[in-house]
Amino acid sequence: MVDFKVVYILWLREMKRFFRAKSRVFGTMAMPLLFLVFLGFGFGRMNVPGISRDIDYMSFLVPGIIGMSLLFTSTFAGLSVIWDREFGFLKEIMVAPVSRVSIALGRIAGGISTSLLQGVSILLISLLLGFKIKGFFPFIFSIIFMTLVSATFVAIGLGIASQMKDVHGFSLIINFLIFPLFFLSGALYPIKNLPKIVRSFSYIDPLTYGVDGLRGFLVGESHFSLFFNVLAISVFSFLTVIISAFLFERSEAI
């Protein structure tokens, strides 16, 4: 069912494309970095209600911004199927005698890698800005955790893209999916500050657990327990990958 060679070549293609599109790399990293710098320094001395007195706002913000970067780059990586459809390349893949599940997994693997590279880059840049992490192992665990977060959103992007015929619904998705997910996740402020009704949506937002888990690993402060965050994101990533592979399998090439 899953042909790992096919997974590998689709991953390889994503990587090649990624490293060739330098403007895209900087473009997608620019927004999270701007958020990080301006919000981090702008609100740095403020006491944001709901944040423990032991950590400053910058420390609170960095995991949120990493989560933001993962959300954006992962979802876009998943949506890249739409571009392939637009440029015709999807047909080339779809007539090949290989299982579509392998193709879907290859794309997801490629998407995870590219968004992980950006997530880690932001983490490293934030270290230069004065962010402190709790040691080497938390750093490694946070990267594994980021992988799961990326998998979730690449899969969501891919699932949506497989059902879309053209690029016209694209901005709709960004406005009505990505931004709400971002704001609901508590990346910029603690979700306890949100009204109760709004907060209940936060609980079904995978990024909530993603950001909270990263905070747990990197800063040592989290709303939910680390175990619960890892469990939640594992379940989310598992389900979304299965569902999107299924949707991709059933989608039409033309």
Binding site: V6, F89, E92, V98
Partner: protein
């Protein structure tokens, strides 16, 4: 030397193939066979159902009903085997423009399970065939239209398919490039003995390349034969008269003439076919005078596929629909 066409083995068999999209019939119960080694053409205007047929045969679309097999495999039940046996050059480019020519080929080869060393070897072969060796390391986005087409042909061949589909292989290319692509296709078909099925709406292309042609219109095959026979169907030369006055009497008289093999009328223009047209024109002129019809111009030519198409469909192939009034030819008659 003539190439080998095995008439007893069918590379493609199509029986009563039907495809409907939300009530619109794109392919209307067509049937045809293609022998191994043959270069077979589907000729018809845009929207005739050619691409839909190719998409069904290449397993991209499922037929509504009917049966088809490619390289001996049922296209519904043995999709993977069909996919392994075919190569496709799509109508629109399907290359990854952010990869180089070589990378596109390598990606394709690996997708078809070809080992790396073997893939490298075959890549050299196909690049040589389409004369792209020196541009192989350039990003495809820098390629010209003709180069992209050639790369796609090379890609379609790298896994050594039994059947190669070419959907409008020269669409949008300039006349010179078109010629070159034609020569590649002809050479390939001759040298590799790969069965090829190509769709086109260029008459010259079908005429120049194909061993056999199916003329397709509104989803139906209206004629199928080799180019020579198709042209002979009209029975001799095509004579076109532009006339003035009441033509009814004249037309009645023309119909009585045995040597007028076919006759079509469209406001003020008569299209006929006859043997040795140049000797018959005086008769036609005399008869017109007797019938009180004035002839404004006479045109005589050897029949082309365009004439054949016009005869079978009542339309010129390049007539765009909705462009003013429909230019249907009214009276159509043929004797054999």
């Amino acid at each position: 030397m003539d190439k080998i066409i095995n008439k007893h083995m069918h590379a493609i068999r199509v029986e009563e193939l039907l495809k409907k999209f939300n009530g619109f019939t794109a392919v209307d119960r067509i049937s045809f066979d293609v022998s191994y080694g043959e270069l077979f053409g589907l000729l018809g205007p845009n929207g005739a159902g050619k691409t839909t047929t190719i998409n069904i045969l290449s397993t991209l679309l499922k037929p509504t009903s009917g049966y088809a097999e490619v390289a001996g495999f049922d296209i519904r039940k043995r999709r993977d085997e069909v996919r392994r046996s075919i190569g496709i050059v799509f109508q629109d480019p399907t290359l990854d423009t952010k990869l180089t020519g070589k990378e596109n080929l390598l990606f394709h080869a690996m997708l078809y399970g070809i080992k790396k060393e073997e893939a490298e070897k075959r890549m050299k072969e196909v690049l040589e065939l389409v004369e792209l060796e020196d541009r192989a390391d350039t990003l495809v986005e820098k390629y010209s239209g003709g180069m992209k087409r050639r790369l796609e042909i090379a890609r379609g061949l790298i896994h050594r398919p039994k059947v190669l589909f070419l959907d409008e292989p020269t669409l949008g290319l300039d006349a010179q490039t078109r010629r070159r692509i034609w020569d590649y296709i002809k050479k390939l078909n001759k040298e590799t003995e790969i069965t090829m099925i190509l769709t086109t709406h260029y008459m010259e292309e079908a005429d120049y390349l194909c061993d056999r042609i199916a003329i397709i219109d509104h989803g139906k095959i209206v004629a199928i034969d080799n180019p020579t026979n198709l042209k002979n169907m009209l029975g001799g030369d095509v004579v076109i008269l532009e006339i003035e006055g009441d033509a009814n009497q004249y037309i009645e008289k023309l119909k009585e003439l045995k040597w007028v093999k076919s006759l079509m009328v469209q406001n003020g223009i008569l299209r006929m076919s006859m043997e040795m047209g140049e000797r018959k024109i005086p008769n036609l002129v005399n008869l017109a005078e007797k019938s009180g019809v004035k002839i404004n111009s006479v045109n005589l030519h050897k029949p082309s596929l365009e004439d054949v198409f016009l005869f079978f469909t009542g339309r010129k192939i390049r007539d765009e629909e909705g462009e003013g009034e429909r230019r249907e030819w009214t009276i159509r008659e043929m004797r054999r």
